[in-house]
């Protein structure tokens, strides 16, 4: 008993303390989302009344077109995730399997350029998209189409890098066999590689989805219209410092928005931890 206490007590103490730290804001937010009054004052840690008023407000008030925001987030993130993996996989395959001149240079350039933080180029992106707007408003500044294009460009570096790591881990024997049988690289890619890599691509796709869902700065700059906003922008603008009046619905909204992401994240835990060691995956 004494030995158990000496060896394990501090471990549990540390773990429990940090768990409380982790849960503290989450618990409070869940608590205040279930209260009727708007404020986030905690009278006590045990809820006395449970009401779904805040959730109702979220779906019915014209101040928060929550379902539209949710839809926007899902649509934008899905389009970006699917397209960027589709485009990125081809490049990753070429970097991983083909031999060609300038391969090393290409990878170095990719790495270097990736270090230019996207936020820094934001004024340039802004000016460029402002000009695009003059001739194609649907893909220019202020449009979801334009935002998707910018995301696609920005995700290329990270995704190619990440995908290359995964592609390297897929055995080369099969595509070498295909090569011997006379398949061109393009055939090998479509008929052998893609079916083999589907599970891996799905993982990267979901990671990319989480990343886009979480993006805030560009979305804030692009999506000005109330109904066109993503959840992140919508809720940020909604709370906008007005904690007194808007906290309850905000709490409800942030919980609902977090649930799908947390579920995806927890189910992909194993892959994410592997990916982490190869470089930061999630901001």
């Amino acid at each position: 008993m004494n030995k158990w206490v000496r060896e394990n007590l501090w471990r549990h103490a540390v773990a429990i303390a940090v768990c409380l730290f982790s849960l503290f804001p989450l618990y409070l937010v869940i608590l205040s989302s279930l209260k009727t009054s708007g404020s986030l004052q905690v009278g006590s840690f045990i809820p006395h009344e449970i009401s779904l008023d805040n959730y109702r407000f979220l779906f019915h008030s014209p101040k928060t077109p929550y379902l539209l925001w949710f839809k926007n987030s899902i649509v934008i993130s899905s389009v970006v995730a699917l397209s960027s993996v589709f485009i990125g996989a081809a490049s990753a395959f070429a970097f991983s399997r083909l031999k060609f001149k300038g391969k090393k240079l290409g990878i170095r350039l990719l790495l270097l350029v990736q270090m230019f933080p996207a936020v820094l180029a934001i004024s340039a992106v802004y000016v460029i998209m402002e000009r695009v707007y003059t001739f194609a408003p649907k893909i220019g500044l202020g449009s979801q189409g334009g935002l998707i294009l910018v995301y696609l460009g920005g995700s290329m570096g990270v995704n190619i890098w990440l995908l290359k790591g995964f592609v390297d881990s897929i055995p080369v024997e099969l595509d070498e066999a295909a090569k011997i049988d006379g398949a061109t690289p393009v055939q090998t890619y479509w008929l052998i590689f893609l079916p083999l890599a589907t599970p891996v691509l799905a993982v990267v796709c979901l990671l990319s989805f989480i990343g886009t869902f979480n993006e805030f700065i560009l979305a804030r700059l692009f999506l000005v219209e109330m109904n066109g906003r993503t959840i992140a922008v919508g809720l940020q603008q909604f709370i906008g410092g007005q904690y007194a009046s808007n906290w309850g619905p905000f709490a409800a909204g942030s919980i609902l928005a977090s649930i799908p992401i947390v579920i995806i994240f927890l189910s992909l835990q194993r892959f994410i931890v592997n990916g982490l060691t190869a470089g930061s995956v999630k901001g």
Binding site: L40, V119, G283
Partner: protein, 509 residues
């Protein structure tokens, strides 16, 4: 059969893409966006060339990625570098041609009484735009075109209920609907008296103006015809008065100033002082964030580095902060520290203005970043601890080392060696951790009284964002771009150092 299907799909897909790109090219050129238009055109040509010939196999894989990469990553970077060489800010936002046009337009001054007239817009028999002007005060009526003015005797005109002339000989009114769709008539200077002309202001009224500024394209000199003052290009994006260069005309245009935006960072005290302060905090913030998150993550990893009851439960709870969308959790924290309604004040029964005090605000930023970041290092450290061979510590233990010595002399150095690239990457990430600053404190507290926009918790990137987009009244893209370029160089060299250590590059040798 399969081959044919693939070919047909390819042709349809490429055909549609090419058609869209061609349309975009055309409208881009129509709007004089030549650079963007040319890029789209080249993209369309390249796509067709690569996919319909066998010119290069790797390009069949790379091209779409490369095009996106160039358009939205490389081009903005180059553009940022280019903007950093320009005076590009509020008041100097247009190109020179558009700015000159506006300066001249602003040179139109109303006459001393600010005379306005009721008028009817139309055309004369020569099919020129003309206005039928009713000077009701003096009971005079005339038809005016760009270069002549004809008096209309009152008896020959017809009037509406308000006494405004609507019909006259040699004049045919244009209906309001037509005027609404074609505003060419409103751009003409209609003859009045001497240097004065009538400018149409609404569909049925106009004012008397005089053009005071005249531009000579040969000499590039703007002259004020009333005061006689002359203005010349000061090569810094504005027309400045000869003799008193500080008197400039607005708007200006974006003009190349080469390295001035960079030298301002050092020489201009108003730029330098906040920048130095922000830089020091950015560095401390990034360093402290890495240290605190790593320390807590490591502590947890060590504590849970053995089979024990509840480990799985602990683990699931511990990674929750990392699994949450960070935008949401930062906003939640911001609400908790709200001084009036925040949970923290309510629990402590206090009334702190957490974000008004610079040190408190900085502490909170670090605390929240610790909450967001420790699970990352917890996950990484647990993985790495298992990768360190148990024989090492066992051997040390046999040699009589106590657990603390084993940790300090063996585990920690090994761990640091394995994790140093990730620690450096984490430093680089926090160096540019825009979201936490922007969403939690907005960079504040700020002493706005002296017009300073840098707050106590502003890091370089949020400060740069403020310079470019922060205020409605003044935005300086040139200066923001110069700072961006410098941050890039800093972060790139830090990361390159980290990468070299991690030997990532060697895998391509």
């Amino acid at each position: 059969m399969r081959g044919k299907f693939a070919l047909v799909t390819k042709i349809i897909f490429l055909g549609i893409t090419t058609a869209i790109l061609a349309l975009l090219t055309e409208s881009a050129f129509a709007q004089k966006q030549y650079v963007i238009g040319s890029f789209i055109l080249i993209a369309a040509l390249a796509l067709n060339l690569v996919y319909f010939t066998s010119i290069s196999v790797p390009f069949k894989f790379f091209l779409p990625g490369i095009l996106f990469f160039i358009a939205f990553v490389i081009a903005p970077i180059f553009f940022t570098a280019q903007m950093s060489g320009y005076k590009y800010q509020t008041g100097n936002y247009l190109d020179k041609k558009a700015a000159l046009e506006q300066v001249i337009n602003l040179g139109a001054q109303p006459d001393s009484q600010g005379t306005t007239f009721d008028l009817t817009a139309g055309k004369n028999s020569a099919n020129e735009y003309a206005i039928l002007v009713s000077d009701i005060t003096n009971d005079k009526y005339f038809i005016s075109t760009q270069n002549k003015r004809v008096e209309v005797p009152k008896a020959l005109a017809k009037f509406d209920a308000n006494g405004v002339a609507i019909e006259a000989p040699d004049f045919k009114a244009i209906s309001a609907n037509v005027l609404a769709t074609n505003d060419a008539y409103s751009k003409i200077h209609y003859m009045y008296e001497g240097k004065y002309y009538i400018a149409v202001q609404t569909q049925n009224s106009g004012g008397v103006f005089r053009q005071e500024l005249s531009y000579s394209a040969d000499t590039g000199v703007l002259t004020n015809t009333v005061t006689g003052a002359t203005y010349v290009d000061n090569h810094r994006g504005n027309f400045a008065k000869v003799g008193t260069p500080s008197e400039i005309l607005s708007p200006g245009w974006r003009a190349p100033v080469w390295f001035e935006n960079y030298s301002r960072l050092v020489t201009d005290k108003k730029v330098r002082t906040p920048l130095v302060r922000v830089f020091i905090w950015t560095f401390s913030f990034a360093l402290l964030s890495v240290l605190t998150t790593f320390a807590l993550g490591l502590l947890l990893a060590i504590a849970l580095n053995r089979k024990m009851r509840g480990r799985r439960v602990y683990r699931s709870i511990l990674i929750l902060p990392y699994a949450m969308p960070s935008v949401m959790s930062i906003l939640i924290w911001a609400g908790m520290f709200d001084s009036d309604f925040g949970a923290v004040n309510s629990i402590l029964h206090s009334h702190f203005h957490w974000f008004q005090n610079p040190s408190l605000a900085r502490g909170i930023v670090l605390l929240v970043n610790l909450w967001l970041g420790f699970p990352y290092f917890y996950l990484i450290c647990s993985g790495s601890l298992q990768a360190i061979p148990a024989e090492l510590s066992e051997a040390a233990a046999i040699d009589g080392a106590n657990p603390r010595q084993v940790f300090r002399k063996i585990t920690l150095p090994l761990l640091l060696q394995i994790l140093s690239p990730l620690l450096i990457a984490s430093f680089a990430f926090n160096f540019n951790n825009f979201n936490i600053i922007y969403l939690l404190t907005g960079g504040g507290p700020t002493q706005t009284l002296n017009g300073e926009i840098a707050g106590a918790t502003d890091i370089l990137i949020s400060y740069t964002y403020k310079i470019a987009f922060g205020s409605q009244s003044f935005q300086d893209f040139g200066l923001a771009s110069a700072i961006s370029v410098i941050i890039f160089l800093l972060v790139a060299s830090i990361s390159m150092y980290g990468l070299r250590r991690s030997k990532v590059m060697e895998t391509f040798e």
